[in-house]
């Protein structure tokens, strides 16, 4: 049974939420996350999902309420973007440290300032080190698929961490594409009933949640949390295989696109991977040995698998849709670490900040090694 509909990424994510039917969704609206929650709220109002939506007064409260709901034993989801995530950031760290398996959709949007509503990945990168899983979708289908997979990853006893499904603002959240939905029953079976983590808030078995940790225990608890995030890499692959059997679409930590025999490769996150694939197809038709490494999982970062996938490449270019002023952009830094000691020429490019488009000719220049460090920035000369 193949139910293909014309849906925006935001609507597709809302359908995944309807089918998962979480117990609680505390949420505050923000562009470009809005279509996710407005579509989902309509599903709840129409009785097609049975979720308690908590209309909170800010994202700080949304994540706080989400922690309370998750630790009280409810399957919990939320969604935000940009400034919303920035306001939530303090509590995202707390959610990870309290090991609350909250699933959150993030409509990626540039952080202020200047204020902007369009896509880049600066919001994701703001919470890079918070200890949450971050998965990036290439298109509306993947956003739906990852949102169905996410509860299984978040709630696995080896993980118990928040999982973010990141979809590029407007490019994915607001663009309509054909999306294949699984039958409702299949999703319900796939995610299964919610198994409450060991120690939840329970007046008959009182516990202290989120205890103070002094120098004698803080380090140990941080290490325990990091180990859970590392374990999410195996869990992701297991869930990806199960999901692949169910749907015919497998989304592991990375996707190698025409990397066999490639000597030049681009590494990218999110919707840009789609643009790069088109250019790879063109260049392969012209007998150029080029390929794409698309990262689905940015956290945990699959460093060894990245190095293995790029083993045949003499030159690798990393596309960062977020800058790190005064330092090395986040994806570039990860690649430099993953490929350290190898014989690869690594180039880093920042592109697309605040929603600036990346065009196929730009990607051709990257493959040719002639692109500027800041692709699309007016006045910057190319490398040749």
């Amino acid at each position: 049974m193949n139910d293909v509909r014309l849906l925006t990424g935001g609507e597709a994510v809302a359908h995944a939420m309807r089918q998962v039917d979480p117990d609680v969704v505390p949420v505050y609206p923000i562009t470009p996350q809005t279509p996710i929650i407005q579509t989902f709220a309509k599903f709840v109002a129409d009785g097609r999902a049975h979720t308690e939506i908590v209309n909170v007064e800010s994202e700080h409260s949304a994540m706080s309420a989400a922690i309370g709901a998750a630790l009280a034993g409810g399957r919990t989801m939320t969604a935000t973007s940009s400034q919303g995530l920035a306001l939530m950031a303090e509590i995202v760290y707390i959610a990870a440290s309290m090991r609350a398996p909250i699933v959150m959709a993030l409509g990626n949007r540039a952080l202020s300032g200047p204020i902007n509503i369009h896509c880049d990945h600066s919001d994701s990168m703001l919470i890079r080190d918070s200890g949450v899983v971050q998965l990036f979708a290439e298109n509306a289908q993947e956003a739906y698929d990852l949102m169905v997979m996410a509860p299984r990853i978040a709630e696995d006893a080896r993980v118990l961490l928040p999982v973010l499904v990141c979809l590029d603002g407007f490019t994915i959240t607001h663009s309509a594409e054909p999306v294949s939905l699984l039958p409702d029953d299949d999703v319900a079976r796939f995610v299964g009933p919610y198994h409450v983590p060991n120690d939840v808030l329970d007046t008959t078995r009182p516990t202290t949640q989120g205890p103070f940790a002094m120098p004698d225990y803080y380090f140990e608890l941080r290490r325990q949390q990091a180990a859970a995030l590392e374990a999410a890499l195996d869990v992701l692959e297991e869930v990806a295989s199960d999901f692949g059997q169910q749907s015919g679409r497998r989304h592991g930590a990375l996707e190698s696109y025409k990397l066999d025999g490639a000597t030049r490769a681009i590494v990218a996150l999110g919707s840009t991977a789609g643009t790069v694939k088109d250019v790879v197809d063109e260049l392969r038709d012209e007998h150029e040995p080029v390929g794409l490494l698309k990262l689905v999982s940015f956290r945990p970062f699959p460093g060894r698998a990245v190095a293995a996938a790029l083993a045949s490449c003499a030159r690798v270019a990393v596309l960062d849709r977020a800058d790190s002023p005064g330092g090395t952009p986040p994806l570039h830094a990860e690649l430099a670490a993953a490929l350290y000691g190898g014989d690869v020429e690594l180039a880093g490019h920042v592109y697309g900040l605040g929603g600036r488009d990346l065009h196929p000719p730009d990607v051709r220049e990257v493959f040719a090694g002639t692109a500027a460090p800041h692709i699309g920035l007016r006045g910057e000369r190319c490398l040749v």
Binding site: S97, P206, T207, Q209, P211, A213, D216, E220, L221, A227
Partner: protein, 92 residues
Amino acid sequence: MDELSTWEKLPVAGVVRPADAPRSLTGGWRTGEKPTADLSLCVNCLLCWLYCPDSAVTLAGEAFTGFDLDYCKGCGICADVCPVDAIAMVSE
């Protein structure tokens, strides 16, 4: 937990169960004053019980009986909120 644990042995998220916690008698934090109650004035409104930040007001059923000085930190909130001045802070 008598010895410090490695991270693998800690409960997930460091959740503390009652049996794991040392029973520190935090009443030792008082710095010179403790509450006393004149039961002949008390109207059993239980505001002191409601406000006490350390759950150190003791009851028999729903009747006020006094203070658990093992946990009272001597903050004086009970004396402050008592509407009939039945509670006074006195020198230890």
